[in-house]
Symmetry: C2
DNA sequence: TTGAAAGCGCTAACAA
DNA sequence: TTGTTAGCGCTTTCAA
């Protein structure tokens, strides 16, 4: 059976008390250098591993944080996770990752599990089906440090890290208009998501500033976010069936952008007919058949900032009350055939 | 401060003993239906969440398992994780995911952390830089259930799940040869990895059976596995500089396949000049500019099987001694221009 | 500078 | 069917 060395074992072997060993191992100021050396050497020799469950049970700290994202297969999230880990590693924090697959119930379950496992904090991107936040509000009120990332929740006051959704959308649409596009469709995932709203606001503002009329029929939502291709295909089919067809489509979602490409391929719609610009952090974007203009979020950097913010809360001596939302620029890349700079 | 309801609180409120409450909550046969109902109703009312750290500390079980993969950004792994979770969810197990970024040291750290967090078992794909397994051997000897996945370790006797590396490689090469290719290069990641060896064996066997001479200069390794593009580019450049240039290349790695495509694009080598077939589980493969024949592993299924095997070990009444290695078929898809069936 | 003792929240013998 | 008691491995008062 699995029987690791315990702190007690060390105490016994070294004829010290458990508390001394514990303190020595944690490099407490009360312990003499000599004792510390003896203890640490012995511990290293027998490959002692402290048990975080026992430690956490007592001290309510675990030096580990939880990361909750909707989908690991989404490069935006995996890049962000790498950013989070780059900081966590440096600061000696472990990370525990879980995905919700955009399910509200899975999210609740995962968050509870992490909280109970005594993570010291949480970095979370909401599931797209989450419209009710009491599970998070409760934890947050109880003192669990939380940082929201990408998809944020207004109702909970804490640090939030998002990309410049409004501005980058605005800029993208503006550029399209200046390039002669007039009928720009808007394709988004779930309408209740913060990112959908912010991106739509950017779209709307650009149209208004350029005196282009808003057309309801050009707005389509695919709540599955592109995981259900038929949904995207249906939306695109509807758009292309309009009397006044769009000449461009702005896709406000990462997975959705690729789903949209696939739909266009299936519907045999050429990229000359319909320009497409979408949010995308896909690595392979340069290898795609159809050149696609895209807005690329600085996911790694966003992850790093999220972790930095979380650490700030965790290690704060006094509760923080003055939270803000970090907005990170995104980079726009124009497909070559449009002949535009990025 | 964070002060969750404890089992004791419930016991106090209901004037029961903690053990009764504990048993009622866990639906023990010893407890009357009435008491169970009272307890469960009350617990639900106050939103009681059991503390798995305390439970785990005592019972040495946590109903959670660890998943360790090299890289979350690799679709093969994220698909496999989804497969693992599909079974874990059903059986009431939580999953804790970590990535090693193919670092040996990160792997050790992550595995230790998980073991200490009392995961009930581990599903792991080795880091490509791991050549020494004492950290795992130790845990395994101590009784931690482990299932190896994709990249396996001969030295440790437990369940292993891999794809049919030899056979699918053999079949792919055979097909290439039958299609007239004669100078088939072999591109792999780290040579010490089980997958590299198995795939090379398939390659070698097919050549031999078809009486094609083995040529050392057609074999190239890219230890970074495609994350360092310059490495791949250099290898491809070397290959194309040979007097007798290859007319096809077989890529024995997921990320490497895409890296290879990118290298060919950069070197402006047409797919007519050089056919490429590689392992790949990329979702977007149908949207790529260059049609690429590919071997697609049944990642989701492999994940499911891994989890099933792990559960078998975890829940075994008596230690299992008779382990085997599950080999799952892979599917070969031929790029259209080759005019072959899959 | 070290040790003794209590207890974190839970489970599992053993008793009743 | 329920309660009592001890203890998982560690940290943390408090005392020495």
């Amino acid at each position: 059976m699995y029987k690791p060395i315990t702190l007690k074992d060390i105490a016994l072997a070294l004829d010290l008390s458990p508390s001394t060993v514990s303190r020595a191992l944690r490099d407490s100021y009360e312990i003499s250098k000599k004792t510390k050396k003896i203890v640490n050497d012995y511990a290293a020799g027998v490959n002692y591993q402290s048990n975080p469950m026992a430690a956490g049970l007592r001290s309510k700290k675990s030096k580990s944080i939880g990361i909750v994202v909707p989908d690991l297969a989404n490069s935006f999230f995996s890049q962000a996770i790498s950013g989070i880990e780059s900081i966590a590693d440096k600061e000696g924090y472990h990370t525990i990752i879980s995905q919700t697959k955009d399910s509200y119930h899975k999210e609740i379950e995962v968050v509870n599990h992490m909280a109970n496992r005594s993570v010291d904090g949480l970095i979370i991107t909401m599931s797209s089906n989450t419209t009710e936040y009491t599970h998070l509000q409760q934890m947050h009120k109880s003192g669990l440090p939380i940082v929201f990332f990408d998809r944020i929740v207004d109702e909970i006051d804490t640090y939030k890290v998002i990309c410049n959704n409004f501005e980058s959308s605005y800029k993208a649409i503006l550029q399209l208009i200046e390039n002669g596009k007039k009928d720009i469709a808007f394709l988004a995932t779930a309408p209740q998501l913060s990112i959908s709203k912010e991106r739509m606001n950017g779209y709307r503002a650009a149209l208004m500033d350029q005196h282009i009329l808003w057309r309801d029929e050009l707005i389509k939502f695919c709540p599955s976010g592109g995981s259900d291709h038929s949904e995207t295909e249906f939306a695109m089919k509807q758009l292309m069936a309009l009397d006044q067809r769009p000449d461009a489509v702005f896709v406000a979602g990462d997975r959705l952008s690729m789903s949209c490409l696939r739909a266009l391929k299936k519907l045999q719609i050429d990229s000359d007919e319909l320009s497409i610009i979408g949010f995308s952090n896909v690595d392979l974007i340069d290898l795609l058949e159809t050149p696609i203009s895209h807005i690329r979020q600085r996911a790694f950097e966003m992850g790093q900032i999220s972790m930095t913010m979380l650490l700030k809360i965790i290690e704060a001596k006094y509760p923080i009350t003055d939270f803000d939302t970090k907005t990170i620029d995104a980079d726009i890349f124009w497909a070559e055939h449009l002949g535009l700079d990025s």
